[in-house]
């Protein structure tokens, strides 16, 4: 676990964050059920939070060190530990007081290997949390995502439209087929179950919805609806409001990668002299990635 066990007094990581709500938003977007285990991986580049379900769905939240006001990393290697995602988000949420900015310090490990959080900007009203950590499961948390060929198969769609489309597909439910075709350039979501529903994003017809499209051959894969839904079900309000694009890429074997961007910028109205351009700063963005494995059909609908 910790690689600095030789000197237990020096924590592996001490960092400060000035926008707790942004972190709550980012982590909430990968919280698709109440009780979920997550693995935190610390490195000199930042913190990665990884969540996994049923060997079919994995989500990663990348909190780069640039998101933090300060980031002191002293471990060698990459310490990994498990925490309950729900507890982590609920604890972080208590630090986020509406109507005013709240800064916190995150420290790992505590005296009993806990993840420690405490508020730093209010000397006479200190909030603190100690979250029990555990040794992460030995299963591989890495889904090797490899490009499907020389040309990536990907498209970028407005986040709100993607969420709406996936929400609509709840009605047919069960299994959703995603089809990418180069001519005419188009993405189709097809649901067959209690009924049939097909949603088409035509690249030339909807350039304001389908922002980018790359595909050189027809591909089609099926994904379980519940996993696909998890990729957008808890999309934070800020993502829908900003409505940047969400990027979907199909990799080798049909592995689907869904990427969202969550703003972790401090609201610019409160400290215009410090962070007036925060919303434009790419460094104040948390990256969210979901990996969804395709369903294995008896008669695989595969690369044409």
């Amino acid at each position: 676990m910790s690689s600095s066990e030789a000197d237990p007094d020096i924590p592996d990581l001490v960092c400060q964050l000035d926008n707790v709500q942004g972190m709550v938003d980012a982590l909430s977007s990968v919280r698709w059920k109440r009780h979920q285990d997550s693995v935190l991986e610390l490195s000199e580049h930042g913190i990665v939070v990884i969540v996994e379900e049923s060997g079919c769905l994995q989500a990663k939240v990348y909190l780069k060190k640039e998101l933090f006001v300060s980031y002191e990393y002293r471990a060698e290697g990459r310490p990994r530990f498990g925490v309950s995602l729900g507890v982590f988000v609920d604890c972080l949420n208590t630090f986020s007081v509406s109507g005013r900015s709240s800064s916190i310090e995150i420290c790992y490990p505590g005296p009993d290997m806990q993840l420690l959080l405490k508020s730093v900007d209010t000397p006479d009203a200190c909030i603190y949390a100690e979250i029990r950590t555990k040794v992460p499961d030995t299963i591989s948390w890495d889904y090797n995502f490899e490009p499907a060929g020389s040309t990536p198969l990907s498209f970028t769609v407005k986040s709100a439209a993607l969420k709406e489309a996936i929400d609509d597909l709840e009605w047919p439910g069960s299994s959703i087929q995603i089809v990418l075709q180069p001519d005419p350039p188009c993405v189709q979501f097809r649901g067959e179950g209690h009924g049939d529903l097909q949603i088409d994003f035509m690249y030339y017809a909807n350039t304001d919805l389908l922002i980018a499209f790359q595909c050189d051959r027809l591909v089609s894969y099926r994904y379980k609806y519940k996993f696909l839904r998890a990729t957008t079900s808890n999309m934070p309000g800020s993502v829908i409001k900003d409505n940047r694009g969400s990027k979907l890429t199909i990799g080798r074997g049909g592995m689907l990668k869904v990427q969202h961007l969550v703003s972790v910028a401090r609201p610019s109205t409160q400290h215009p002299h410090i962070d007036s351009a925060a919303y434009q700063q790419p460094s104040r963005i948390a990256y969210i990635e979901f990996f969804v494995k395709p369903e294995v059909d008896e008669e695989p609908v595969n690369d044409a």
């Binding site: 309950s84 507890v87 609920d90 604890c91 949420n93 208590t94 986020s96 007081v97 509406s98 000397p123 006479d124 009203a125 200190c126 909030i127 603190y128 949390a129 100690e130 979250i131 029990r132």
Partner: protein, 317 residues
């Protein structure tokens, strides 16, 4: 047994806008206890396990032409549904308006009436309001008046609930505290509360996966005080609290987070400040709300409201 009075404008605004909405959140049903000089709204005084709340009004703060008589030392108590009482009051006010004159005063009285589905006359608290061209009578059903024994028991429960903690700290902003406690609800349901004689209020929630707390420091203290130990600013909140309890300069109790959140609903009564204290022997957590005479910093002694939260475990005290 007779009770008849006119609600004053101040009484209407106190009850309609502030106290009834807040007390309704404490629990739908409460005792309304009327004496020669006071009116009380009481929650959970005769049954022990919930949050006890005691709202006391001097008769002049709510009523004028206040007439009460009973064979039990002119005391009458009954249970009433606060939701219905609030609705009746709101409706009466909409008829006679917020500002009353000699002709459109809002009368409250106890009556017994025969209703179409009962043979026996039933007791009601009746609101009678006269508008410009109409009059409206609202009958709020109430329980049978409490027996002499029950009234004595209610009065002694009120007397017992008056014991004050030795140390009271003036709490932080109620909205801030409430927003924090609302978020805590997702994490657990047992709250450890420690109050030190230095003016620290420490709320802590423990469960198997996490310890989450907030410590408010340097709050104004009423009652027994102690000097802040030197060097304690370098300690963590938990060790500071532990140290203070060991020195006998703090009391600690465990209460239900739900009860605590409920007591914070009293902010709807718009108190000017709130004090928190733990009674000797850590028998309960007391929250006292203070109201100022409008436009002054002087306590309005005609209104008082306090809550007593049952302690779930004697804690470390």
């Amino acid at each position: 047994m007779k009770f008849k009075a006119f609600l004053t404008d101040n009484g209407v605004s106190l009850l309609e806008k502030r106290f009834l909405p807040a007390l309704d959140k404490m629990g739908r049903i409460c005792h309304l206890y009327l004496t020669k000089d006071h009116a009380f709204f009481l929650h959970n005084l005769l049954n022990g396990d919930g949050v006890q709340s005691i709202a006391q009004f001097r008769k002049e703060s709510l009523f004028e032409d206040y007439r009460i008589s009973s064979q039990n030392d002119d005391r009458i108590a009954f249970t009433i549904d606060l939701g219905l009482l609030h609705r009746a009051l709101r409706s009466s006010v909409s008829v006679c308006g917020h500002v009353t004159t000699a002709t459109n005063r809002l009368q409250v009285k106890l009556v017994k009436k025969l209703t179409h589905n009962s043979q026996q006359p039933m007791p009601f608290l009746t609101f009678e309001s006269k508008g410009y061209k109409s009059a409206v009578i609202q009958d709020v059903p109430i329980s049978k008046p409490l027996s002499r024994v029950d009234v004595v028991e209610l009065q002694s429960a009120i007397d017992m609930a008056q014991d004050l903690p030795q140390t009271l700290v003036q709490g932080p902003d109620l909205h801030q505290l409430q927003s924090f406690v609302d978020r805590l609800k997702h994490v657990g349901d047992l709250l450890h509360i420690t109050i030190t004689q230095y003016g620290d209020l420490h709320l802590q929630l423990l469960n198997t996966l996490t310890t989450l707390g907030v410590e408010f420091r340097k709050l104004p203290v009423v009652g027994v005080q102690a000097h802040v130990p030197s060097g304690d600013q370098n300690m963590t909140a938990q060790s500071r609290t532990k140290y203070a309890v060991e020195k006998g300069e703090a009391l600690s109790v465990q209460v239900s987070l739900k009860h605590f959140a409920k007591s914070l609903q009293c902010h709807l009564t718009k108190p000017d400040c709130a004090f928190y204290g733990i009674t000797p022997l850590a028998s309960c957590l007391t929250v006292i709300f203070q109201f100022f005479i409008p436009g002054t910093r002087q306590t309005d002694k005609s209104i008082s409201l306090h809550c007593r939260l049952p302690v779930l475990d004697p804690g470390s005290a």
